[in-house]
Amino acid sequence: MPVNANNRTKLSQVISERARRLSPSGIRKFFDLLAGMEGVISLGVGEPDYATPWHISEAAVKSLEKGYTMYTSNYGMPELRELLSRHIREKYGVEYDPYGEVLMTVGVSEALDLAMRAIVNPGDEVIMTDPHYVAYDSCVVLAEGKPVKVPTREEDGFEIDAADIEARVSPRTKAILIGYPANPTGAVMPREKLLAIAELARRRNLIVISDEIYARLTYGVEHTCFASLPGARDFTILLGGFSKAYAMTGWRIGYALAPKEIIAAMTKIHQYTIMSAPTPAQVAAIEALKNGEADVLAMVADYDRRRKVIVKGLNEIGLPCFEPKGAFYAFPSIRATGMSSEEFSEKLLMEEKVAVVPGSAFGQCGEGYVRCCYATSLAEIEEALERMSRFVKKYRR
């Protein structure tokens, strides 16, 4: 059937309510501006600048040569689940049965979607921070739930308080979704504040979904695994993945760990929508867990050096920036320019060819900030700081 204008209007009408309800990415225009521009330094990325350590890639290559090209168990390869279970026990002291409490997913993104669809009924509320990672509220909306936002502020290090959560708990509240170390702020949560949230969740009978994809990327502070808090394991869905720690974003391999009733429900959905996580990626993840620790430590040490350079630099050029102790983002305030974060990002791109992400893309409380990823070369960070300095001087009020 030939596609004509008339037909196209009709097609737009076939789009489901659900898909229409999803808010479009706030920075579509920004992507379009970027396309085709030369000489741009991008601090707008959300992934490591390293390629995957070669021994990890090689393990996958070898597995392909040996013919490991079939589906695996819906849960993921048993060896991988066993290694992951051991890794979590050794790192955080939490026990998960590799047979029933561990599910390998297509990145932590799938795990997040599964968690929502497995526990959220239409109209159920899920409490999360503002600002938050872009997929958080969309996943809740897709599950026909209602995202409820708790504002977090720079003065509090973008940490979330149990009291602020409790003020928003209603009879429809089903879960609290937290993601620390945080994208976009780089914030980490102190243990005491997590303990208070665990206490609240237990008392009010809430599930906690803890997205710990950046767990390995902390600087000078220990990451606290939410499930490791006393008693918390029973009401926690722990999400994680290999993307950030092992520089494996393109492999799409993540996981969910939770009590078996929840994993069983998530696996049911996973089985019908995905079947199993990509087999070569699972093989690579096995190698990462077996022999990747030194790579993680070396990359974290290197991010830390660049983190210090960018944070100091941003503060010096008049974009005050609180010290991010996790992930690989700096989240400076751009209020000195009087611009909205979207205006700032667009102008900075057009005039100085530096790409950053407007904080407003991550929620209302991100307004007045921009996200700068420092997983890029030191030379590029220095050059970006120079260009941004020129820009700020020009527009500072």
Binding site: I27, G44, V45, G46, Y133, V134, R305, V309, K312
Partner: protein, 161 residues
């Protein structure tokens, strides 16, 4: 602290003391002091640049790996002869190795002829040298940790949320 500074400089010799100070939390003066001392102690020997010369000139220097079998001296072992061989400016690197030969030389010269001359006129005449095997380098794939062909273009999407 010395190790941290050395690691940074080994990756990029052009990082300034001010940047190193930011990265390590030391003061700039301390960083300068540590670097000066390391230079004095010959821990830092030289600051060099890794260059892909093949992109600049089609027929540049010729390189060869030369295996040398030597008879160790009663007192000095391999050190005496190795120190002598190291004096030749053509010899860019020199290692004592385990296996079927003793010394491995990395040698550069303007032409193959010059390297051949070095082997026949200088090297093989040295007392203690029992035999040599010369391998000319045909193509360079990786230099000092850098893969020469590739890595020019970023494979990352410029913006990811």
């Amino acid at each position: 602290m010395l190790k941290d500074i050395l690691k940074i400089l080994e990756g990029d010799a052009r990082v300034t003391p001010a940047q190193i100070a930011t990265m390590t939390g030391l003061s700039q003066d301390e960083v300068v002091k540590v670097i000066r001392q390391a230079e004095k102690d010959r821990i830092i020997l030289r600051y060099k640049t890794v260059i892909n010369w093949e992109k600049v000139e089609a027929d540049g220097a010729v390189w060869a790996l030369i295996e040398v079998k030597v008879k160790p001296e009663p007192e000095a072992g391999f050190d005496a002869i190795a120190t002598r061989i190291a004096q030749f400016p053509q010899v860019r690197s020199l290692y004592l190795a385990s296996g079927t030969y003793d010394l491995l030389l990395v040698v550069s010269g303007e032409t193959e002829r010059k390297i051949a001359d070095f082997v026949s006129e200088n090297l093989s005449h040295l007392e203690g040298v029992q035999g040599t095997v010369t391998h000319f380098v045909l193509k360079r794939y990786k230099e000092d940790g850098e893969i020469l062909d590739g890595g020019e273009t970023s494979r990352r999407q410029p913006v990811v949320l």
